[in-house]
C-alpha cells in the first residue's frame, strides 16, 4: 500500500461514479421513466465486470483499484434501494418487487458469467 495506490483509488473511484452518472442517465432517458432501468443496467454490468476481475485473479493492488475503486464506485446499492422504496411509495408494487427480484437474478447471473469469462481468458 502506498500513496500512489491511494491516489489511484481516489482518481479511479471518481471516474467510476462519473461513468455511472453517464450510463444511468443515458439508459434512463432511452428506456423511459416508469422503471429504474438505468440503475439496473449499472448494477448488472458492474456485477459482471467484478466477476470478470475476480476471475482474472489479479494482484492485490490491481484488484483494489479495479474492484473496490472502479466497480465499487460505479455500482450503487443505495440508489437501487431508494428507487425501490420510491416505487412502493407510489403503490407501484409490481415494479418495486420486480426491481428487487430482477436485479438479484440478473446480478448473480452476470457475476457468474463474468467470472466464467475471466477464468477462461
Amino acid at each position: 500500500m502506498n500513496a500512489v495506490v491511494w491516489a489511484g483509488v481516489i482518481l479511479i473511484g471518481g471516474c467510476g461514479s462519473v461513468l455511472r452518472f453517464v450510463v444511468d442517465g443515458a439508459v434512463g432517458a432511452r428506456l423511459g421513466r416508469e422503471f429504474p432501468f438505468g440503475t439496473l443496467a449499472v448494477n448488472v454490468s458492474g456485477a459482471m465486470i467484478l466477476g470478470l476481475i475476480t476471475g482474472l485473479a489479479l494482484g492485490s493492488d490491481e484488484a483494489l483499484l479495479a474492484g473496490t475503486a472502479a466497480v465499487g464506485s460505479y455500482t450503487t446499492f443505495s440508489t437501487w434501494m431508494l428507487e425501490t422504496q420510491r416505487l412502493a411509495e407510489e403503490r407501484q408494487n409490481r415494479s418495486a418487487t420486480l426491481n428487487v427480484v430482477v436485479s438479484l437474478v440478473l446480478g448473480v447471473a452476470a457475476a457468474a458469467l463474468g467470472r466464467l469469462i475471466g477464468v477462461h481468458v
Partner: protein
C-alpha cells in the same frame, strides 16, 4: 381588505441560474429587498414547459432539476415596481400576473363583490411553527375549512419567502419557525366569506388573499366547463387561462398516481406545460383532512397540478383532465390576465395586464 393587489408567480427550473446565482435565490432576495407582504418559494415534483422536457422525481436520475414556483403578493404598485427586475432575472420560464385581494393583520367580516360570489380561492399564509391552541396552525385551519364544508384545501410547504415584509429562509439547522407555508382552499363565495371571521379569530397575525375561480369538478363530478374565454381582451391584450387540479397521491389512474397520468397525457397532447406540487396536509370533497402516516409505505399527501395555456388549449387540456379525474379530484379554472413564457430564444406573451370582464 386591499382590493387592488397582484399575485406574481414565476415557474422555473430549480437549477436555473441568473448570472452566477440561482434564480430562486435572486428572486427571493428581490422580494426581500422590496419587503413584499408575502412571498413563498415552493419546490415542485414534476412538470414540463415550452421545451416539453419532462422533469420528474419518479426516478433519482431524472430528479436533478425539478420545477420550482415563486409566488409574491402585494399591492399593485409594489408588485409593478419589481416586475421588470423579476421578469429579467427569470430568463427562460413562465411569469404570470393575476389579480387578488389581500387582507393582513386583522380580518373583518367581508361582503364579497358579486364576481367573487361564484367560487373563491382563499389562500392563508402561515409560519411553519405557527400554532393555534397547541395544534399546528395549518392543521387547525384545514379542520376549520373542512367543518365549514369548503370544497378542498391543500397545505404547501415553502422553503423560502417573505412574511409581512420580512425575509424568512429555511435553513438546514434551525427551527425555521416563520418560514412561510400556504393553505389554498376553494369554496363558494358565501362559504369563504363566512369562514373569514373565524380564521381571523384563530390566527394572531393573519395574512390571506382571495381570488376568483370557477369550480369545474368536485369529487370527480363535472359541475361546469372552464369559462369559455376569448383569446384576447377588448384592447387586443392576450388572455390566458389556468387549471388547478387538486388530488391525492393515493388517487390512482391505471395503477399510477393521477397527477403523473395527467402530466404525461398533457405532454403528449402538446399542451404548453404543467407543474405539480406535493402538499403535506389537506382534503378535497368529503374526505377528512389527511397527510402521510408513519409506518405506511404508500403516500397519502395531497397534490396540486397547475396548467396554464391559451383559453383554446385549456379547453383541450380540460377534456384530458376531465377524463383522468372521473372519480376523484377537484378541478378549478381561472383567468390569467398576463403571462410571459420564455424558452431559450423564443418568447410569447408579456407582463402587461389584460382587462376582461366575464
Amino acid at each position: 381588505m386591499n382590493e387592488d393587489c397582484l399575485k406574481l408567480t414565476v415557474y422555473f427550473g430549480e437549477r436555473k441560474r441568473a448570472g452566477h446565482r440561482f434564480v430562486a435565490d435572486a428572486l427571493l432576495d428581490l422580494y426581500g429587498r422590496h419587503e413584499i407582504a408575502t412571498s413563498v418559494l415552493l419546490r415542485g415534483v414534476e412538470g414540463f414547459g415550452l421545451k416539453h422536457h419532462l422533469r420528474t422525481d419518479s426516478s433519482l436520475t431524472l430528479s436533478e432539476d425539478l420545477p420550482a414556483v415563486a409566488i409574491a403578493v402585494d399591492t399593485r404598485e409594489r408588485i409593478e415596481a419589481l416586475l421588470d427586475d423579476a421578469a429579467e432575472l427569470t430568463g427562460s420560464g413562465l411569469v404570470t400576473l393575476e389579480r387578488a385581494r389581500m387582507q393582513t393583520n386583522e380580518i373583518r367580516a367581508v361582503s364579497l363583490p358579486a364576481e367573487l360570489d361564484e367560487a373563491t380561492k382563499l389562500t392563508v399564509y402561515l409560519g411553519r411553527q405557527e400554532r393555534v391552541y397547541r395544534v399546528p396552525a395549518f392543521i387547525a385551519v384545514c379542520d376549520l375549512l373542512h367543518r365549514r364544508g369548503i370544497a378542498g384545501a391543500t397545505t404547501l410547504l415553502g422553503v423560502d419567502g417573505t412574511t409581512h415584509g420580512r425575509r424568512e429562509r429555511a435553513r438546514f439547522f434551525g427551527r425555521n419557525a416563520d418560514v412561510p407555508m400556504m393553505v389554498i382552499a376553494v369554496g363558494s363565495g358565501q362559504q369563504i366569506a363566512g369562514v373569514l371571521p373565524e380564521l381571523g379569530g384563530l390566527l394572531r397575525r393573519p395574512l390571506i388573499t382571495l381570488e376568483r375561480v370557477r369550480v369545474c369538478k368536485r369529487d370527480g363530478e363535472l359541475l361546469e366547463n372552464p369559462h369559455p374565454l376569448p383569446g384576447s381582451d377588448e384592447h387586443g391584450m392576450a388572455l390566458w387561462q389556468k387549471l388547478m387540479i387538486y388530488n391525492s397521491e393515493a388517487a390512482l389512474h391505471d395503477g399510477q398516481p393521477i397527477h403523473r397520468a395527467i402530466t404525461r397525457q398533457l405532454r403528449r397532447s402538446g399542451a404548453s406545460g404543467s407543474t405539480t406540487l406535493r402538499g403535506i396536509w389537506g382534503f378535497h370533497g368529503d374526505h377528512a383532512p389527511h397527510g402521510d402516516r408513519t409506518l405506511q409505505l404508500g403516500r397519502h399527501v395531497p397534490t396540486l397540478t397547475i396548467v396554464i395555456d391559451t383559453p383554446e388549449r385549456i379547453a383541450e387540456s380540460f377534456a384530458i383532465v376531465d377524463q383522468l379525474t372521473n372519480e376523484r379530484g377537484l378541478v378549478t379554472s381561472e383567468m390569467v390576465p398576463a403571462m410571459r413564457a420564455t424558452a431559450a430564444e423564443n418568447s410569447r406573451g408579456g407582463v402587461r395586464l389584460a382587462n376582461h370582464r366575464f
